[in-house]
Symmetry: C2
Subunit: 259 residues, 2 copies
């Protein structure tokens, strides 16, 4: 039996901060036919709100720590304002969206990241995606919109990497659906030359990935994204593309990740 | 055919602000058997966060106006932090909750309140409750948790009176379910004497309501609550009770509204 198509899109923080680009992207997303899921990051809103509320951003070894106050602000901004604003915009565009975090319907269960050298605080590593619940929403014609917040089985909300949420949701859903995963960020794709925004690599396979790694051509932000991609492909995700806010427009350049 | 039972509970802001009372209430709520829906207000969190963010609370004739900044903070706090915290707590108590606002699944559609003497800003009057969508969640064993935020058909989020949300949801659901509605606030019920916290009226029928009104014994906060109650009874809601955080405990005093 042919699996129904499912399109999963992750949009990054910088896109969300630009009202015009976000609206244009959401118009493209609303026009995608078939089942779909949106996952969003949050950009700088949490940092700005935290600063105004007098919560200093805690950093250890240059890495951000999610303390109780940061988590509160992340839930307010990513899980609240940004999530519901996107849902309202999609509804206006005719997409029957609902906004969720991982606690809702136990949809994304995680474990608090164990403390090794650094205690990252309220940060979650995903353990399980509730594909039955998410599938039941899709079958009702609903478009789930996830903020990158998961929860433990004990009900602790946890800040979670948005790229990982997208990859884990795709991996969980691809058993039932022919799943395509799109990562939308500020570049047109993975660049062969970081100084040249147009040097988009059209395709990366594992061999090419090893070459890029060996030549130090993959920057720190891209590394986990690509690792997520290859893992998702191995789990049966059909197609993965990385590109900018226009990624859903036909004929737009992007980087395709292939096995 | 006997309708399945549905329990709808509205909890007010002051209850939410008290961590201990909220936890105790949520334990009682999680223990309620059968289908259920929770609707929550927000208390002072929005005002406090708005003040810290430098958004002054706009008042006209002693009434609060929801300007664009207030709405942003309401969506962050009520729709985000408070909603998701309640969901996570209910999940930990074994209730499969999901947190929603009116934009999610077009569940609560409203109209921006028309400007007469006062422009209340982004405030919504409910037009339609999507009982099909809410019913489909209930049938899946899901417990919807609504913040008091609705949305227009055009996707504008609107601040909405929580008591009205509860009444409208009850009115929409009572066609399909034998519906009981509980209003949980800081008093043990409607008081015969405002100076005596123990003077709880066990029952109010329309005749008693007219008497109380005529004698000026119903304060401004209680008036719309009771109007909502009688309207909901007229629409077929089976039972309505007003009481404090212990309202769901057996044998606790409360005021029952009857036809």
């Amino acid at each position: 039996m042919k699996k129904p198509n499912l399109t999963i899109v992750k949009i990054g923080g910088k896109l969300i901060e630009n009202e015009e680009r976000l609206t244009s992207f959401l118009r493209d997303f609303a026009a995608v036919e078939g089942l779909k899921i949106l996952i969003h990051g949050g950009g700088n809103m949490a940092t700005e709100v935290a600063a105004k509320l007098g919560f200093p951003t805690q950093m250890i070894d240059g890495r951000r720590v999610t303390d109780a106050n940061s988590l509160k602000v992340i839930v307010m901004t990513y899980g609240g304002f940004i999530n519901k604003s996107i849902v309202a915009k999609l509804q206006a565009l005719g997409s029957n969206a609902i906004g969720l975090c991982g606690a809702d319907g136990r949809s994304i269960i995680s474990k608090k990241r164990p403390v090794k050298e650094i205690d990252f605080g309220f940060v979650g590593d995903i353990e399980e995606v509730n594909s039955t619940f998410i599938g039941s929403l899709l079958e009702q014609g609903i478009v789930p919109v996830f903020s990158a917040i998961s929860a433990t089985r004990e009900g602790q909300l946890l800040n979670t990497n948005g790229d990982s949420v997208a990859a884990e949701v795709a991996k969980a859903m691809c058993n039932t659906y022919a799943t395509e995963l799109y990562y939308c960020f500020e570049k047109k794709g993975v660049l062969a030359n970081l100084q040249d925004e147009e040097s988009v690599l059209p395709e990366i396979d594992p061999e090419k990935y090893r070459q890029l790694l060996a030549n130090g051509l993959i920057n720190d932000g891209m590394l986990p994204k690509l690792q997520n991609c290859f893992e998702a492909l191995d789990h049966g995700v059909n197609k993965i593309c990385l590109g900018d806010a226009n990624i859903l427009k036909t004929g737009n350049p992007c980087t395709k990740i292939v096995k």
